[in-house]
Symmetry: C2
Subunit: 227 residues, 2 copies
DNA sequence: GTCTATAGACCGATAGAC
DNA sequence: GTCTATCGGTCTATAGAC
């Protein structure tokens, strides 16, 4: 069992709001169809939020923009999500689910270090593609909302446990430096998701996305100093 | 001459507004006293802005807060600075000046690599002390204002040139990897000023500030992988 | 008495919430 | 589509220095 790396010590288990379609279906097809519509729209909303969050960040994203991007009325938004913070949380849950899917896709026939590098590469790709929502770590109302969101915390824990296990394995097999605590390695990897360096390099226009990713990966895993 | 590392290609040279006390003094003592008062207050304002910017970021900082922290009326603020963006720019100019002073203090009897590590250490110290203002790179009105601010651009250029020279020297003397372009190294160092990792580690409470700084420095210069 | 700086009310716009 | 809060920015009456 991998050591549980605590992201937050306070985990108030508030019942997450039931996702749409929680009611018992009376006739399968009809309810299912309705639920599918709702689900599809919810997906569209969360995807739009994800994009806007990656593009402008939480503070500069307005709810009106989200509604306009999805093409629905603002009031309809509030039928699905009760606040702007909830929207952001949904986007984070979405990206955590994608991360879980990616982690699951590479669990076999690769070394722990290779898997960690693949994770970092994936984060950088998502970021450069404008698909990585990054929230300000300073907004307290947003943080409070996230820390009360069970789906978010569960996803974060699951991802962190998996990556944390690989970190420890890589330190044991000697491919990762054992001098750096596993938690520091984990945070350093997470930080690649909101690293401003790829964006600056992309804005510079001197390198392709692929080159940028390899350069940042090299600085992350091999450091700046001559090894 | 070190290669000039372009931070911004568009450098509109707008005349910076004359700092207070530009008029010709009729009687030295009197005008000087008044000017000193103005200067002292301006310093207090910028220092408060610096702290608030480091604590809450640009978007969440309100002008009323700044006035309250300094203990003056908001209207008085606008006698010194004509907009919120100007306030932020002044704080950035201040930190750039401090950076220049620090750079100048270590120009002798140390290797380029040692100097670069000292710079990174200084940034991390400032950040952990809550003295490093970090602006959102997404706010376009703020960026436009900064890019039109001669004092800011000059300071940034000077700092970048100095550090850039050291980077190239370190690559030539073999202590820094020549495989990473100098610009990438420069950005990677700058990114330490807004790295979320030190803050997370500090919030975790497992390490002292000194240990955190050394850990982050190690991941930055030596990388995560076993060398 | 005059002049400047201040305090604090005030305005318009915008964004979140319903 | 409306309501309300908040925030950036301005205006005016007043207090105090000379």
């Amino acid at each position: 069992m991998p050591t549980r790396i605590a992201i937050s010590s306070a985990v108030p288990t508030q019942p997450a709001q039931a996702p749409s379609g929680a009611g018992k279906p009376a006739r399968a097809t009809k309810i299912s169809f309705k639920a599918q519509m709702l689900q599809a729209r919810e997906d569209a909303i969360v995807q739009a939020v994800n994009r806007l969050l990656a593009e402008k960040g939480f503070d500069l994203m307005t709810v009106d923009e989200v509604a306009a991007e999805v093409g629905i009325a603002k009031a309809s938004l509030y039928k699905h999500f009760s606040s702007k913070e909830d929207l952001a949380a949904a986007a984070m849950v979405r990206v955590l689910r994608q991360a879980q899917a990616f982690l699951a896709s590479l669990s076999v026939s690769s070394t722990p270090l290779e898997r960690l590098m693949a994770v970092a590469r994936w984060m950088l790709q998502e970021q450069l593609a404008g698909e990585m929502p990054s929230l300000p770590s300073q907004n307290s109302s947003l943080r409070a909302n996230l820390m009360a969101n069970k789906a978010y915390l569960d996803g974060l824990m699951q991802v962190s446990d998996q990556i944390g296990g690989w970190i420890e394995a890589a330190q044991i097999d000697g491919s990762l430096s054992p001098k750096v605590p596993a938690l520091v390695v984990l945070y350093t990897l997470y930080a690649r998701a909101c690293d401003p360096v790829p964006g600056f390099l992309k804005a510079g226009g001197q390198h392709s996305d692929e080159v940028i990713i390899e350069l940042v990966l090299a600085t992350c895993f091999d450091g700046l100093r001559t090894s």
